[in-house]
């Protein structure tokens, strides 16, 4: 299985359903922080440019808020594509975006456990 098929399989998304309307990018609250924009996730998969997708910063900026998933008129779910790319990265050795040593200084008194759990799930294998 090549990387493109792998992304399609993990995400369960058919990128060819996209009609390139850009509603995902219009709706994304993390848009400004992203280097590759939500509507581009789809075209990167279409063209098989998974390497670039797997190297993007966007995957660490996505909030998993599902705004793009909810509002997409074609049910393409760009958020799922990005998550699949993230999976490919964190499943590789050394692909983690968060290490245990990094955490203590980031924690404050009020920090809910839920935050650590979620961040671990998203950033780490």
């Amino acid at each position: 299985m090549n990387a493109k098929e792998q992304v399609q399989q993990i995400s369960g998304v058919n990128p060819y359903k996209c009609m390139k309307c850009g509603k995902c990018s219009a709706t994304c609250p993390a848009y400004e922080e992203m280097d590759i924009k939500p509507h581009q996730f789809v075209s990167y998969v279409q063209s098989g440019n998974i390497e670039a997708l797997a190297a993007c910063k966007s995957m660490w900026k996505c909030l998993s808020c599902f705004a793009c998933v909810e509002r997409c008129p074609r049910d393409v779910q760009p958020g799922r594509i990005l998550d699949a790319a993230r999976q490919i990265v964190v499943r590789q050795r050394g692909g983690n975006y968060l290490t245990a040593e990094e955490i203590p200084p980031l924690v404050d008194e009020d920090l809910p456990q839920q935050l650590l759990v979620s961040a671990y799930r998203r950033y780490k294998r």
């Binding site: 993990i10 705004a67 009020d110 935050l115 650590l116 961040a119």
Partner: protein, 262 residues
């Protein structure tokens, strides 16, 4: 009436009040939250990958236990609710996930989505009823202008969560009205607070919470209510932001059971 109850990790620690007020209010309203015997953390986020099974198993365990008891499963935290409802949807509708999860679990009887997952707010709306709730209020919060903050996880994806209209929800507003206060409707009530991003990108989350705060203030709100400890944490980081309460705290207060709940 007894419901199975899944508190989740945060409600056992930093958000003990969210939990305690809910239980006290439930008793006052005539139903009981019975904590599951063996629950484990849901993982905080729903694993989107279609090939991820292991990370869904803790949810399946909870769902199956509720099924054995023949009870609906109630949650309070938006994240737990989101994960449990989506995993339950997978177990109902996605054959591949159902088969593989059941192969791992080796339950006496395979689980196929039989349990009904309810948010505490759904119980208030659909089981108790907001009219009944209104009657049971002893300290109406008259005059308070409250902004409901839904966040993203409670409502989306609308098709699966099926809690309310994901773009123009009414559930918390009706709840606020039932407590005698005035709901403030503002457009960012269903936009993300930043979620877990605040760990490594605190500025991003601050920006988002600023927008939410400004919008709610602009429409005249005096405070926020929310169901999610993480939303509350993030919103609280806003400088000169509105105070943020768990919805259960105001509920307990209105029902007159706040004292001694903690």
């Amino acid at each position: 009436m007894i419901f199975s109850y899944y508190p989740g990790c945060t409600l056992r620690n930093k958000a003990k009040d969210l939990d305690a007020y809910a239980r006290a209010s439930a008793e006052a309203l005539g139903f009981t939250l019975q904590e599951l015997d063996n629950w484990q953390c849901c993982g905080g986020v729903y694993p989107l990958g279609t090939d991820e099974i292991a990370s869904k198993l803790s949810s399946v365990r909870a769902l199956a236990e509720a099924k054995d008891k023949g009870q609906d499963l109630v949650t309070l935290c938006s994240a737990c609710h989101h994960v449990l409802k989506r995993v339950n949807d997978d177990m109902t509708n996605v054959e591949d996930i159902r088969t593989r999860a059941n192969n791992y679990m080796k339950l006496a009887e395979p689980y196929a989505g039989e349990t009904k997952v309810l948010h505490f707010l759904e119980v208030l709306r659909d089981v108790v009823g907001f009219d009944t709730l209104k009657e049971k209020v002893v300290n109406p919060l008259t005059g308070q202008k409250i902004a409901a903050y839904y966040g993203c996880l409670l409502l989306r994806p609308g098709k699966i969560m099926a809690l309310d209209d994901p773009e123009n929800p009414k559930l918390l507003e009706d709840f606020i009205r039932a407590l005698g206060a005035e709901p403030v409707v503002y457009p960012y009530r269903n936009e993300c607070c930043g979620g877990y991003i605040s760990l490594k990108e605190p500025d991003m989350a601050k920006n988002m919470c600023n927008t939410i705060n400004e919008s709610a203030k602009g429409f005249g709100a005096e405070c926020f209510i929310t169901a999610c400890p993480l939303c509350r944490y993030n919103l609280n980081k806003t400088e000169q932001g509105l105070p943020v309460y768990y919805f259960t705290e105001l509920l307990a207060e209105a029902l007159g059971v706040k004292e001694g709940a903690l």
